[in-house]
């Protein structure tokens, strides 16, 4: 028990040190970003014939309902030259038919590119007119497989992944591509802010009015996203140790991704795995590179509002994280991989992968100690207070950083409501999540293989640093 107390204390100190550091880096990075980014620069970039063309890849599995609107709004993005490639991953509904009717497509023959591996192609469709749209209908092979097919058929030097149910702000793509224009040789991947669309007014596949969700479960996720993106990603990006560019919205250099082997088929968290592999690939080859998080572009995504869907999503994110860390365990604490190997990945392993176990063990031990009457209540209460307060500090810091960033929909969120939910979060929401995580970890460890899994679902903007501090008791 005493051993655990010491362990928990060290764990908490490490958590506070790392996250405070990252938050400070985030604040500095946003300052730097604001001093650089000018609106006229963005316009110049959109007008320049040197700005690289982008292939937008949309993996879709049974998305008939919204796919036509999604594609229409992607084609209307403010960008100089882009193409949209929809990869239907063995859809059993009318996804392909909807697109064929909406855009007047006809079947075409295309030579199959031999670059990456992907499931057999059934048919390929293209429009009659000048629209740059390609629909690849292939056998089911999972999201990674669909993305690989999209990369293979892409014709431009950069590609952007967008989930079929996500909606981009019109200037989001341009802002996310900007690091590639500023530093074309080194930039290999960029990601941007993702927000929760629940509650927003949506017309024709576009968010026309930003609002906070009504559902409590979605509100908790809004808090998590704010903290995860502004507090975490911006900070890690500042030291080139960004580990997550979420599959819902990210831009990549096609040639480098192909060289690194594309997405890992059958992976639970293919987007996370790819970014870690890109770090590994580039550092190993000794090639100077940058993986950048751009603070202000916005991609709106639908968050699950039912506990069972949220549970499934979180299970997938969590196991994807654990799996990726296991795959790349050779990078852990390896100075060869710089800040990624020494700090970012170990922090991920410790706080994200092991966090749930530490926290739950804490609850159990505290309960046992209380039953035995061996607990010092004041110390216990103070320990709890530290954990809860620190979560609030991270949220407040992230909100401040976010408010300092100019946005399309300024100040739409009610900060008091957000803060209230940041407090409420501690009363059940995160304990339940930690339980889900721990349970799936036990399951995972027992199987040690991952058998068949739900291939495709919502986006996967894994939220790091969601307060994994653990609430360890302090028995005496």
């Amino acid at each position: 028990m005493i051993a655990y107390t010491w362990f928990a204390a060290c764990f908490l100190v490490a958590f506070v040190v790392v996250n405070t550091g990252v938050l400070a880096l985030a604040a500095a990075e946003v300052r730097r970003y604001l001093a650089r980014a000018s609106a006229s620069g963005l316009r110049r970039m959109l007008r320049s014939p040197l700005t690289p063309a982008v292939s937008i890849i949309v993996p879709a599995h049974n998305e008939a309902a919204g796919i036509a609107d999604s594609v229409r709004s992607l084609l209307a993005l403010d960008y100089r030259l882009l193409e949209v490639i929809v990869v239907s991953d063995g859809s059993t509904d009318d996804t392909v038919g909807c697109l064929v009717r909406a855009f007047d497509l006809r079947p075409v023959l295309r030579p199959n590119p031999p670059f990456l591996e992907y499931a057999p192609i059934r048919a390929i469709y293209a429009p009659r007119g000048t629209l740059r749209l390609l629909v690849v209908d292939k056998e089911n092979g999972g999201k990674a497989d669909a993305l690989n097919a999209g990369i293979a058929f892409a014709s431009f030097p950069l590609y952007c992944t967008v989930d079929a149910d996500s909606m981009l702000e019109q200037d989001a793509l341009a802002k996310t591509v900007r690091p590639f224009v500023e530093d074309p040789e080194r930039t290999v991947a960029t990601g941007g802010m993702i927000r929760i669309a629940n509650g927003c007014r949506v017309e024709r596949g576009r968010v026309v009015e930003a609002r906070l969700p009504r559902s409590r479960l979605a509100m908790f996720q809004v808090v998590e996203y704010v903290r995860g993106f502004f507090g975490t990603r911006t900070g890690w990006s500042a030291i080139n140790a960004l580990l997550i560019v979420s599959g819902a919205f990210g831009v990549f250099r096609r040639d480098v991704v192909i060289e690194a082997g594309g997405y890992r088929s059958g992976s639970l968290g293919e987007d996370f795995e790819l970014v870690v592999r890109l770090h590994r690939f580039c550092r190993k080859a000794g090639r100077p590179y940058r993986i950048v998080y751009v603070p202000d572009p916005v991609c709106w995504t639908e968050a699950p509002e039912e506990a069972r869907f949220l549970k499934r999503q979180r299970r997938r994110w969590y196991l994807g994280c654990v799996e990726t860390i296991l795959i790349h365990r050779a990078m852990l604490l390896n100075p060869r991989y710089g800040a990624v190997g020494l700090v970012a990945l170990p922090a991920m392993a410790l706080f994200e992968a092991l966090g749930p176990l530490v926290e739950i063990a804490g609850y159990v031990i505290a309960a046992a100690a209380a039953a035995l009457g061996a607990i010092s209540w004041p110390a216990f209460a103070l320990f709890l207070a530290i954990c809860v307060l620190y979560g609030q500090v991270l949220t407040a810091g992230a909100l401040a950083v976010e408010d300092a960033t100019p946005r399309q929909h300024p100040f739409w969120e009610d900060p008091r409501r957000l803060r209230r939910y940041a407090w409420l979060e501690n009363l059940g929401f995160r304990q339940r999540q930690q339980l889900w995580r721990a349970a799936s970890l036990v399951q995972f460890a027992r199987k040690r293989g991952w058998g068949p899994m739900e291939r495709k679902g919502l986006s996967r903007p894994a939220v790091a640093g969601a307060g994994a501090g653990g609430d360890p008791p302090a028995p005496r």
Binding site: R43, L46, R47, R72, L75, A76, D78, R80, L81, G129, T130, L131, R132, Q170, E203, R204, R206, V208
Partner: protein
């Protein structure tokens, strides 16, 4: 003569509107594509000046919607746009856009083209 200008930049809308009003036209303004379609249907303008990139509906979608509606199918359209890629120009002309003006533009030139188009459209 009534002209509708649709552009999400209020600066551009003002620049165009001031020039056209000075030249004796009545000007309607729309800040996004959906509003443009609505105003085009209710306000019955004689000509449209359209931006390509707008919220809610982009310029091409507006053109498509107007061309499908018999009331607005024959209104002349001038596209005023950042984009000058061949793909865009062809796409616009294919949909039945009468004129293409790339930004940066000259409001004076725009006004002259508008006058020419209206003269041609008049019976």
């Amino acid at each position: 003569m009534k002209i509708l200008i649709a552009d999400d930049s209020s600066t551009v809308r003002r620049l165009v509107a001031a020039r056209l009003s000075a030249d004796g036209y009545q000007v309607l303004e729309a800040a996004d594509g959906a509003e443009a379609v609505e105003l085009a249907r209710s306000g019955r303008p004689d000509l449209l000046v359209l931006d390509k990139v707008m919220p809610k509906m982009d310029g091409f979608e507006v053109v498509r919607a107007l061309r499908e509606d018999p009331r607005t199918a024959s209104v002349p359209i001038v596209m005023l746009t950042e984009r000058t890629s061949e793909q865009d120009v062809l796409g616009g002309l294919g949909l039945g856009v009468e004129e293409y003006m790339p930004k940066p533009f000259s409001p004076l030139e725009l006004s002259l083209r508008v006058r020419r188009l209206l003269a041609r459209a008049a019976p």
